[in-house]
Each structure stands twice: as structure tokens, then as C-alpha cells.
């Protein structure tokens, strides 16, 4: 173990191992989550969910991925080709970048950048850009409406998201994710910042376009929104990005509010994954509990409730810290 850690300290080796591990994790995570989503959905509706392929249907997502790989990539006649192709490719970038700074354990982090959370937040804005590219490039009405909605939604929920994390940063005085975790050695920030936690989680669900905030893709009215025209592996890339984003926002919630990799008895990574996947499960649970909100309600929740609330939370935190 000691020797392995020593080898990992060499920069190039660490980076190469990190890259490979991150990529493998993203793929495996997406496979597990697609399976889990269908299984959770099934059980919540008193069905069994996938069960034919492999034990408990575990191989099902792999079979689906193989099938998607064999599908034709249809390029409709009227699309803007460069933008149409770049959309799904670009959406993959922020997804991988976020994993550079997420601390899975005290030593399992590709790089501890001192502005870690800013890196994640800055690159997560990339997602909006690629959704816009997909929507505009597709030259399809549904795609365009979906992507415009997606932008209005993402920008509305980005402000409470930033502000709720800010309240925690005031307490840690550091943007590095590792410092935030270490600062929670005594007490988790969910107990000191319960309002910020709730705001962050709501905003995070909205940022990942999950039900009840899934208006950009609203299957039943926009036929999947911005990825209507995509097929085969390009569609799979959007899917991959969505499921990985679910994990990323959960991982950030765990890092900022639930003590990160800290916990008794079990090794840090186990705790980290347990907490993260529990939050992912909560997001799947939301999907079968809440109906989709209307678009004006969606924006009002953010502009009229979450933003003032997060500003008050910020000022109260600042005031209490000074007393």
C-alpha cells in the first residue's frame, strides 16, 4: 500500500492513473445508474423492472450500450453540421473535468486545486452551452424550445446554487474541496447550514434537468427536447452526461454538507460512495413523487423564493460568524 501511494506521487503516473480511473468510473457509474433508475422506477410502480439479462437484470445497460453502438447516426438534412456534432461531444468535457477535484478519499483525488469548487461550477456552465448547440444545431422546433427553456432554467437556478455554497465557503474560508471536508471533522455542515443544504439540493436537481424540473426534455410534450434529432451514440453521450451530472451534484452535496469521505469504521471511499448514491437515489425518488412544475412556477421558485432565501441565509451566516 505504502509503495503504491509512493508511485502515485509521481506527477505523470498520478495523472495517467487518474485519467483512466475517472473515465472508467464515469462509464461504470452511468451503466449502474441507468440500471438503478429503471429498477427504482419499476419497484416504485410495483413492477420488477429489468430482470432478463444477467442476474437482477444487471447486464441490461451493457446490452443497451452495445445496441446503441450498432445504431445508425442519423444526420438530418437541415442540421448545422459542425454545431450538431459538437453539441454531444462538448457536453462530455465538463463531466470529466469535475472529477479532477472531487475528493473520493483523503488520498483519492486527482488534483487538489485551491479553487476546486470554482473549477466545477465554471465548467458546469459548459453544459448549458452544449445544450444550446444541440438545440440550435438540430434545426428542429422541439429541440430549440427545449434548449431555450434549459437555458432560462439553468441561469435561474445557478444563482441560488452559487449563493448556498458561498455560505459554506464563508465558514471554511477555502475553495478547495479537501479543506471543506476537513473542516467538517467535528460537525457536518448540514447541521450548521440546513437552509443552504435544501437550497443547494433543489437547485442541483434543477441544474441536472431532473423531474420535477425536467421541462427542457419533457418527454410528453417536447419529445425529449434538445436531443430529439440525435440517435445512436450521440444520444448515448447526452445520456451519459446526464447520469454523470447526477452523480457529480450528489458528490458535491456530500462534500459540502455531509462530511465528504468521513465516517466511522468503513474506509473513506465507501462512505463517500454510500452517501453520494443515497442522494442519487433520492433524486430518482423525486421523479416518481413530484409532478412536473409549470414553466412560470419553475422560474418563480428560483427568482422569488430561493434567491431571496439564499441571500438572507448568506447575511445571517455572515452576521453570526462576526458575533
Amino acid at each position: 500500500m505504502e509503495q503504491i501511494l509512493k508511485i502515485l506521487d509521481i506527477e505523470g503516473v498520478r495523472l495517467a492513473v487518474g485519467l483512466l480511473a475517472v473515465f472508467l468510473f464515469v462509464v461504470v457509474n452511468a451503466l449502474i445508474l441507468t440500471w438503478a433508475e429503471r429498477k427504482v422506477a419499476g419497484h416504485m410502480q410495483l413492477r420488477i423492472g429489468p430482470k432478463e439479462v444477467g442476474p437482477y437484470g444487471l447486464i441490461q445497460p451493457l446490452a443497451d450500450a452495445m445496441k446503441l453502438l450498432g445504431k445508425e447516426i442519423i444526420t438530418p438534412r437541415n442540421v448545422d453540421k459542425p454545431i450538431f456534432y459538437l453539441g454531444p461531444i462538448m457536453i462530455f468535457i465538463p463531466v470529466l473535468v469535475a472529477f479532477v477535484v472531487i475528493p473520493f478519499d483523503s488520498y483519492l483525488q486527482v488534483r487538489d486545486i485551491n479553487v476546486g469548487i470554482l473549477v466545477i461550477l465554471a465548467f458546469s456552465s459548459f453544459t448549458v452551452l452544449s445544450i444550446l448547440m444541440a438545440g440550435w444545431g438540430s434545426n428542429n422546433k422541439y429541440s430549440l424550445i427545449g434548449s431555450i427553456r434549459s437555458i432560462a432554467q439553468s441561469v435561474a437556478y445557478e444563482i441560488p446554487l452559487l449563493l448556498s455554497l458561498l455560505a459554506v465557503i464563508m465558514m471554511t474560508n477555502s475553495l478547495s474541496l479537501k479543506d471543506v471536508v476537513v473542516a467538517q471533522k467535528g460537525i457536518w455542515f448540514i447541521f450548521l447550514q440546513p437552509v443552504a443544504f435544501i437550497i443547494y439540493f433543489i437547485a442541483a436537481v434543477a441544474e441536472t434537468n431532473r423531474t420535477p424540473f425536467d421541462l427542457p426534455e419533457a418527454e410528453s410534450e417536447l419529445v425529449a427536447g434538445y436531443h430529439t434529432e440525435y440517435s445512436g451514440m450521440m444520444f448515448a453521450l447526452f445520456f451519459l452526461a446526464e447520469y454523470t451530472n447526477m452523480f457529480i451534484v450528489s458528490a458535491i452535496t456530500v462534500t459540502f454538507f455531509l462530511g465528504g469521505y468521513q465516517g466511522p469504521f468503513l474506509p473513506g471511499i465507501v462512505w463517500f460512495l454510500l452517501k453520494s448514491y443515497f442522494l442519487v437515489f433520492v433524486m430518482m425518488w423525486f421523479r416518481w413523487t413530484f409532478p412536473r412544475v409549470r414553466f412560470d412556477q419553475l422560474l418563480n421558485i428560483s427568482w422569488k423564493a430561493l434567491i431571496p432565501l439564499s441571500f438572507i441565509n448568506l447575511l445571517v451566516t455572515g452576521g453570526l460568524l462576526k458575533l
Binding site: P76, R77, I93, V155, L166, G232, D296
Partner: protein
């Protein structure tokens, strides 16, 4: 500086991987192109009117409000980072800043810029 090299490398890596996936799929996948298959999807109908239609003005309003608030929040980040060392003065200074921001926010609300009908 060296801190950000992994980020740069992973951006290039992600781009290449994603391009590779799409490339592999386009080689491995079927290629049965019929004329109607390449039409823009609109529930099986011929598309009606221009695709890039006009959007509700409120979307632009939301975007502009976002710009203002986002930049304000970005001002708050460096402050939050050093708030431990600033003392009471630093806090009051920021309080004034946020209150000015909130006055603007109340104005926007009363003007009805946040209403969707």
C-alpha cells in the same frame, strides 16, 4: 499554474474520447439512408414555417437579470474567502453592497419583470 495542467489534459482527453465514441458508432452502425429518414422530425408532418422562430421576450429579460446577479455573486466569492480576516468592517461593507443589490431586486420584482403569464 501546474495545478491546472491536469484540467487542460482532461479537457483534451474528454474531447478525444467523445469524438472517438461518435466515430466508432458511425463506422459500426447501420447505414440505411432513405430520403424521408433525413427529414426534420415534427410528429410525422412536413415542417411548418421557419424553425428558428421568435421567442418570448421574457427569456431575454431573464438572461439579463441573470447576468447582473451572477456578476454580483462572483464579487461575493473572493469576499467570502477572506471574510474570516476582514472583521466587522468587511462584513458591514458587504452588507451595504448586498442591500444595494436587494433594492434593485425589489425594483425588478415590483416592475413585474419576474412575472410570467
Amino acid at each position: 499554474m501546474t495545478n491546472y495542467i491536469p484540467v487542460l489534459i482532461i479537457i483534451i482527453f474528454a474531447f478525444l474520447i467523445a469524438a472517438l465514441i461518435v466515430g466508432a458508432s458511425s463506422i459500426l452502425g447501420h447505414k440505411i439512408s432513405k430520403k424521408t429518414k433525413l427529414d426534420t422530425y415534427e410528429c410525422g408532418m412536413k415542417t411548418i414555417g421557419p424553425t428558428r422562430m421568435k421567442m418570448n421576450i421574457r427569456y431575454y429579460l431573464t438572461a439579463m437579470l441573470f447576468l447582473i446577479f451572477d456578476i454580483e455573486v462572483m464579487f461575493l466569492y473572493p469576499w467570502a474567502l477572506v471574510t474570516g480576516n476582514l472583521g466587522m468592517f468587511g462584513f458591514l461593507e458587504m452588507l451595504v453592497f448586498v442591500i444595494i443589490l436587494l433594492v434593485g431586486y425589489v425594483y425588478v420584482w415590483k416592475k413585474g419583470a419576474l412575472e410570467w403569464e
